[in-house]
C-alpha cells in the first residue's frame, strides 16, 4: 500500500460538543443535535457563520428512523448554515465516515470548517416500541435488501447473531474465554462510574456479568451496548484556519477506511472483519506506530468487536486480545493502554461512533475530568463491525 498524498494531515479537530445522554431524553432529536453542534462551534472558538460544511454518518435516509433521525440537510436548515459542501449516507467506512468525508472536503479545498455530527434516539423509540432498532423492517414482507435477505429467512433478526458468529470463531481459533471477554464490559463499567453522563454507573462484578442473560452464544446482555438519546458533534478545520481557534488543534495524523473483501457480514473474514484492512491502511499512512498510542476508543457496540479492533490496530498480537485484556489491568484507566475511558457504548451509551471521537479529544486536551489518563498526546479511535470499519489516529499539537 503506497500513498503519495495523505490528505488528512491538512485537517484538525478544533472543537467538540455533546448533548445530554438520556435514556430517554425529553428533548427532540433536533434539539439534542443543536445542543451538541452549538457547543462544538463555541468550543472551537468559531461562529456559526464560520461553518461552511456539514457531514454526518449515516444521515436520516429520508425515513426518520431513530437510528439516525437527523441528517445534514435538516441540520443545515435548522442552523441556517451557508455551506459549500454537505453530505451523509450509510454506505461508507462505518460510523467514522462523517469525519473521514468531512476531512476530505476540507483537503479538497471545498471547506474551511466542517461540522460533523451524529444523533441517535433509540432510547425514546423503545419506550413506544420494544422492537425498535433491532427489528425495523426485518420481520414483515419479503426481504429484498442486498445484505439481510441472506439472513432473515434463517431468523437472524438482530446484528448480535452475526457478532456472535465472529465471537464463537474467535473462541475456537484462539482459545478466547468468556472471562476474558467480560473484561471489556467490566472495564467500561468502571470507567462509566467516573463519567457523570454515562447511562450505567453502578458497579458490575464478574458474577454479574456471568449471570447476565445469554442472548446469542457466547454473547450475553452485558456484551451489548445500551440504547440512549444523544447527539455528538465535532468541528474539523483546515490546519492553517485552525490557528485562530482556542485550544491546540488535534491533528488527524492518519485515517483507515480500506475494505479489501466483500461488503458482507458473512463472506468477510470472521476474525478480521473490515478492521484488519482498516488498521493496515492507517499505519501505512503515518510514521507513528502502535506503541505511540496513549489511549484507544474502540467500538463496543458488542464487546467482541473491541477485542478484534485491539488486534486489527496492532495494539496487541493477532489472536491474543483475550490474554491482553485478562484481569483488566492493562486496559484500565491507569494501565498501559486505557480503552473506552468514558464507559464506551456498553455502559456510557450508544452514541454510536462519534462519542468515541468526543472522548478521545477530551483525553487529548486534558479535559476528561475524573477519568483523565496520565499520557495524552496520541489517541486512536476505531468504529464499526463486520464490513463497517474506519479508524483515526489523532495527535495533539
Amino acid at each position: 500500500m503506497m500513498f503519495d498524498h495523505r490528505y488528512e494531515k491538512e485537517v484538525a479537530i478544533t472543537g467538540i460538543g455533546q448533548s445530554e445522554v438520556g435514556r430517554p431524553s425529553s428533548k427532540s432529536a433536533m434539539r439534542l443535535t443543536v445542543d451538541a453542534c452549538l457547543e462544538a462551534v463555541a468550543d472551537a472558538g468559531l461562529e456559526r457563520s464560520d461553518i461552511d460544511g456539514v457531514a454526518c454518518w449515516p444521515g436520516d435516509n429520508n425515513n426518520g428512523d431513530p437510528f439516525s433521525p437527523v441528517g445534514p440537510s435538516a441540520l443545515k436548515s435548522a442552523l441556517g448554515l451557508n455551506v459549500n459542501w454537505f453530505g451523509g449516507g450509510y454506505e461508507g467506512p462505518g460510523p467514522l465516515a462523517g469525519v473521514i468525508n468531512g476531512a476530505m472536503a476540507i483537503a479538497a479545498g471545498l471547506c474551511n470548517h466542517v461540522l460533523v455530527f451524529r444523533t441517535i434516539t433509540e432510547a425514546s423509540a423503545r419506550v413506544h416500541n420494544k422492537q425498535a432498532g433491532a427489528l425495523s423492517n426485518k420481520t414483515q414482507g419479503r426481504d429484498s435488501s442486498y445484505s439481510w435477505q441472506w439472513f432473515t429467512p434463517f431468523n437472524v433478526l438482530s446484528g448480535i447473531n452475526l457478532m456472535a458468529l465472529y465471537a464463537q470463531r474467535h473462541f475456537h481459533e484462539y482459545g478466547t474465554q468468556a472471562e476474558q471477554l467480560a473484561q471489556i464490559a467490566l472495564t467500561c463499567r468502571r470507567n462509566a462510574m467516573r463519567n457523570p453522563k454515562a447511562i450505567y454507573r453502578t458497579p458490575m462484578s464478574m458474577d454479574d456479568y456471568m449471570q447476565s442473560r445469554m442472548i446469542s452464544t457466547p454473547l450475553r446482555m452485558f456484551d451489548c451496548d445500551v440504547h440512549c438519546d444523544a447527539s455528538t458533534a465535532i468541528v474539523l478545520s483546515r490546519r492553517d484556519a485552525a490557528r485562530d481557534t482556542r485550544q491546540p488543534p488535534i491533528r488527524i495524523e492518519a485515517i483507515g477506511a480500506a475494505l479489501n473483501q466483500p461488503w458482507s457480514w458473512d463472506q468477510i473474514s470472521l476474525t478480521e472483519m473490515a478492521a484488519f484492512d482498516v488498521g493496515r491502511m492507517m499505519w501505512a499512512r503515518t510514521d507513528y506506530t502502535p506503541s505511540d498510542v496513549d489511549s484507544a476508543q474502540l467500538y463496543d457496540g458488542f464487546s467482541i468487536l473491541t477485542m478484534i479492533w485491539l488486534e486489527a490496530l496492532g495494539l496487541c498480537p493477532v489472536g491474543q486480545s483475550g490474554a491482553f485484556v485478562e484481569g483488566g489491568q492493562r486496559i484500565a484507566l491507569d494501565g498501559d493502554l486505557p480503552i473506552n475511558t468514558n464507559g464506551g457504548q456498553l455502559s456510557g451509551g450508544r452514541t454510536h461512533g462519534l462519542g468515541y471521537v468526543h472522548e478521545a479529544c477530551l483525553q487529548l486536551w486534558g479535559r476528561a475530568e475524573g477519568r483523565q489518563t496520565a499520557e495524552h498526546r496520541v489517541a486512536t479511535v476505531a468504529a464499526g463491525g463486520g464490513p463497517l470499519g474506519g479508524s483515526l489516529l489523532l495527535v495533539r499539537e
Binding site: T139, Q149, F154, L270
Partner: protein, 132 residues
C-alpha cells in the same frame, strides 16, 4: 417457526428454489470455474459474465455457529442454531443457515453437515443437519 422470506429475482431465484428438485444451486463461473456466493450476474473473481447456477453436493462443515436464546418475536422457538456453513466444493464458499434436527447444545465448529430443505410458499430454504 415464522420465516421472513426473500424477494426473488433473476439472480437469486435458483438458490432459493433449487430445493424444489432437491438441489442446492450455487453460482459458478465458466471463465475461472470457481463458485461464488451470493449469486449475481458477474463473477467477482474474474469478472466473467458467463455464470450460472450449478448443483453442489449439499455437504459441508460448520465454520461458526451461535445459539440464539432471545425471542425476537413471540412465535420463535428458542434456542435455535444460526451457523455459517462452508460447502465441501470450495474453501471459503459459505452462507448463513440454521442447523436443525439435533440438540442445539451438541453443535460444534467443523461438524460435518448436509443440506435439508424447508419448503415455505415458493421458497426452499437450505437448512443443514448433522452428516454422520
Amino acid at each position: 417457526m415464522p420465516r421472513k422470506l426473500p424477494a426473488l429475482n433473476a439472480d437469486n431465484r435458483a438458490f432459493w428454489q433449487g430445493g424444489e428438485h432437491g438441489e442446492l444451486l450455487i453460482h459458478r463461473c465458466h471463465g475461472c470455474e470457481r463458485f461464488f456466493h451470493p449469486p449475481g450476474p458477474i463473477c467477482p473473481h474474474c469478472a466473467s459474465l458467463e455464470v450460472e447456477p450449478h448443483a453442489v453436493s449439499g455437504k459441508g462443515k460448520v465454520l461458526s455457529y451461535t445459539l440464539n436464546y432471545q425471542p425476537w418475536i413471540a412465535e420463535l422457538e428458542v434456542p435455535y442454531v444460526v451457523a455459517i456453513v462452508e460447502l465441501a466444493e470450495q474453501p471459503g464458499l459459505r452462507f448463513i443457515s440454521n442447523i436443525v434436527g439435533m440438540d442445539p447444545l451438541a453443535v460444534r465448529i467443523d461438524m460435518p453437515v448436509r443440506v435439508s430443505f424447508l419448503h415455505v410458499e415458493d421458497v426452499w430454504l437450505p437448512l443443514f443437519e448433522r452428516d454422520q
